[in-house]
C-alpha cells in the first residue's frame, strides 16, 4: 500500500520546505518552500486517504485551491515590493521593526 513510504517522503519534503524558509533570504524561494510544505501535507493527506476514506482527498482539493489563491496574492505582493525597492531580499524589508 506504500503508506509508510509516502509518509516518509512527505516528512522529508516538509523538512526541506522548513529549512528553506528558515535559511533562505529571497522572498520567491521562501515562497516556493512554503508551497513545498503545503504539497508535503497534501501528499500525507492522500496517503492517509488510503486508510481512512475519501475525506483526505477532498481536503487536498481545498488545500490546492487555497494555495493557488495564496500564490496569486503572495506573488502580487512580492512583485509590488520589488517594484518599490528593486530587491526581494527579506533582510532589507523590516518596516515593522518595533
Amino acid at each position: 500500500m506504500m503508506v509508510p513510504e509516502a509518509l516518509a517522503l512527505s516528512a522529508v519534503l516538509f523538512c526541506i520546505g522548513v529549512v528553506g524558509v528558515l535559511t533562505r533570504r529571497n522572498a520567491i524561494i521562501i515562497f516556493m518552500c512554503v508551497e513545498l510544505m503545503l504539497n508535503a501535507v497534501n501528499l500525507s493527506f492522500v496517503a492517509f486517504s488510503r486508510l481512512y476514506g475519501m475525506t483526505g482527498q477532498v481536503f487536498v482539493v481545498f488545500v490546492m485551491t487555497v494555495a493557488a489563491a495564496e500564490a496569486a496574492v503572495g506573488l502580487a505582493i512580492i512583485i509590488s515590493i520589488f517594484r518599490h525597492r528593486q530587491t526581494v531580499d527579506l533582510t532589507n524589508i523590516n518596516l515593522l521593526k518595533g
Partner: protein
Amino acid sequence: MLLQEAAAAGAHPLAGTAAEWIWLVPILPLIGFLINGLLSLSSVAKLGPKNPAEHHAHHGDHADDHHDAAGHAAHGHGGSHDDHAQPARHRYAAIVSLVGPAVLALSFLLTTTIFIALAGAHAETPFVKRMFSWIATGNMGIDASFQVDQLSMVMAMVITGVGTLIHIFSVGYMQDDPGYPRYFAYLNLFVFFMLVLVLGANYPMLFVGWEGVGLCSYLLIGFWFSEKANADAGKKAFIVNRIGDFGFLVALFLLFANLGTLSFAGVNAGADQLAPGSALVTTICLFMFLGCAGKSAQIPLYIWLPDAMAGPTPVSALIHAATMVTAGVYLIARSAVLFSLSPVASLTVAFVGALTALFAATIGLKQWDIKKVLAYSTVSQLGYMFVGVGVGAYAAGVFHLVTHAFFKALLFLGSGSVIYAMHKAYHHTGNHDDAQDMRNMGGLRKFMPVTFILMWIATLAIAGIPPFAGFFSKDEILGSVFARTHGSTLADATWLGIPGSTMLYAIYVMGLAAALLTAIYMTRMMLYTFHGPNRTGEAERTHLTEAPWVMTAPLAVLGVLSAVGGWLNLPAFFPAGPVQALHHWLEPVTGQAALRVTKGAEAHLEHSTEYVLVGIAVAIAAIGIAFAIARLKPQALVTKSQSPASEGFARVLEEKYFVDEGYDKVVVQPLLGVSRSVLWKGMDAGLIDGLVVNGSAQLARGIGWVGSRMQSGQVGTYAWVLIIGVVAVLGAFSLR
C-alpha cells in the same frame, strides 16, 4: 401579611386615630423645604441680567412706557433712596413668608391632634406606623417607620411649637436678607430632619435625622458664608460632630452585633439579655454618650457651639438652643433602658454634664458678645440636662429640655431683637461697630420695653426663681441627684475607684455652683444690655426702636411659656395642681428604667428635705442675682473700642480658658502635620501617586520596551520563533 399587620395594629388603641397621620408631621416641613428651595434656586438663576445689551434695551422700553419725565424722575429718586435706607426685599419674599411658617404651623396642629389622641388613649406601648421596608439585607430588617409614644410626642410638640414661633420671628428678622428663600428652605429642612430624629422608630432612622440636622446646622451656621469666619464656624461644627457620630455609630454596631435588632422596641425588649453593669453595656453607653457629647456640646466636644453663633440669631434659638443640641438628651432618654443597666456610664454622663455646666458657666461670666453669653449658658444648661438623665431621672432631664427650649429660645430671640435694633441703628448712620457687643449697648429698656420685660422673665426662669419654668426643672434635677445619693444602683457603684454616692454629692454641689454662676452671668447680661446709660452713640440712639410685632409676638408667647412652663411637672410636695404630670406622662417610656436605677422604689425624698433643698436652690439663685446687681456697675462700662484688654483670670475666662488654642496645639496642628507629612507626602504623593499610579505606568513601559526589542521586523526571525515554538509544543506532547 397585610391581615396580620392589620390585626396587630388593630390591637393598639391608637390605630385608626390621628396617629396614623404621623408621617405627615415631618413631611410638611419637607414640602416647605422643596417649595422654598425651588424659589431660592429659581431666583439665583435669574440674578442680574445675563446680557447687558438686553438689559439696556429693556431699560429703554421701561423709560418709554413712562413717557412723562416727572414720573421717571420720581421713580429714579425712589430707587436711590431705597438703596440707601432699605435694601430691596427678595422678590419671592411674600410667598416664602407664607409657606415657611405655615408648614410648621400645620405640622404643629397635626402634632397637637396626635398628642391629644395619645393622651386620650392611655397607650402603654408605643404606636409604630410602618411606612416601608428600608434596609432588608441578610438578617437585618430595618423599616422606615415612625413611633408615637409619650417621649416622641413631647419632643415633637416642642420642635413644631417653638419652631413655628421661631419661623414667625425669622420673617421679621431676615426680611431684608438677599438669601431669604434659602434661609427658610434650610430652616424647613432642619425641622424635617429634627422630626425624623425624634419620631423615628429605630436607631437608624434616628441616625438619619441626627446627620440631617447636623447638615442643616452646618448650612445655617455658614449661612453668611461670604465671611470666612462664618464658613469656618460651620466647618468646625460639622467636623467636631463627626467625632461624636463615630461614637454613636460604634454604639449602633455593638448593639446590632449583640442584640440583632436596632428598633427601639427590639432593643428595649432585648436589653434583658445584657448583664447589668457588664463591660459590654457600659461600652455601648459610653460610645453613645460620645455621640451625645458631640451633638449636645458637652466636654470635650463643646467647642463648636459658641462658634455656631456665627449663624443668624433665630437659627441659634432654634437649632443651637431649643432643639438640635438637645438631641443627645433625647437619645439618652430614649436609650434609658441601656443606661439604667450601666451605673458607671450613667455616672460618667452625670459627671461630664455637671462639669460642663460649671465650666461653661464660668466662661459665660466674662463674655462680651451677647450671643456668646447665651451660647455658654446653653452649654451649661445642656450639662444640667445630662446630669438629669445621667442620674436616671429621665423625666427630669426631659422636663428641663422642654423648659429650656422655652426660656432659651426666648433669650436668643430677645437678643436677636436687640441685635436687630442695634444693627438697624448702626446701618442708618453707617457705623461699623459690633452690634452684638454688650459694651456698645446699655440702657435699651427705654427703647425696647417689650423685649426688656420678656427677657427678664426668661432670665428669672433660667436663674431658677419661682414660679418661672426653670425653677421647677432645675430643682427637679438637683433633687433627683440628691435623692439618688442613697439606695440607688448609682450610689452603690464605683466610678474610677470613687464611691458613687460621693460622686453624686459632688455633682450636686457642682450643680448648685453652676446655678449660682448662671444667676450671676444672666443678670450681668441683662444689666449691661438693658440697664445703665446708653452707650450706642448720639446719632444712633435716635434710631433705636422696638422690633415689629411679627418679632415681638413670638417673644410674648415664649414669655408666657417660660413663666408657666413649670406647671408641666410640679414637684411632688406641691399641695395642689397637676403634680408630677410630665413624670407620670413619660412613665410608659422611661419609668421602668428609672425604677431600675432606684432599685424598684420611687425616688422620693422626705418633704422636709425637699423644702430645704428648694430653699437652698432659690437662695443661691437670689444670691447670684443680688450679687450681680450689687457688684456690677453698668455705669462704669465704656464701648468696646475704648475698653482696655482684661487681665489675669478675667482674661483667661474671656479667652475661654484657651481651650480652642489648646486643641489647636494638641489636636489640630499635630493632625495637620501628620496629614501633611505622612498622609499627603508619604501616602498620597509617595505611595499612591508614586508607586501605584506612576509605578504601574513604568512597569507597562518597561515590558513594552522589551517587547519592542523583540519586534525586529525580520521575517526570518519570526519564522524561527514559530518553528521553535511548534517543536517545543510537539515535544511537550510527545514526552507526556
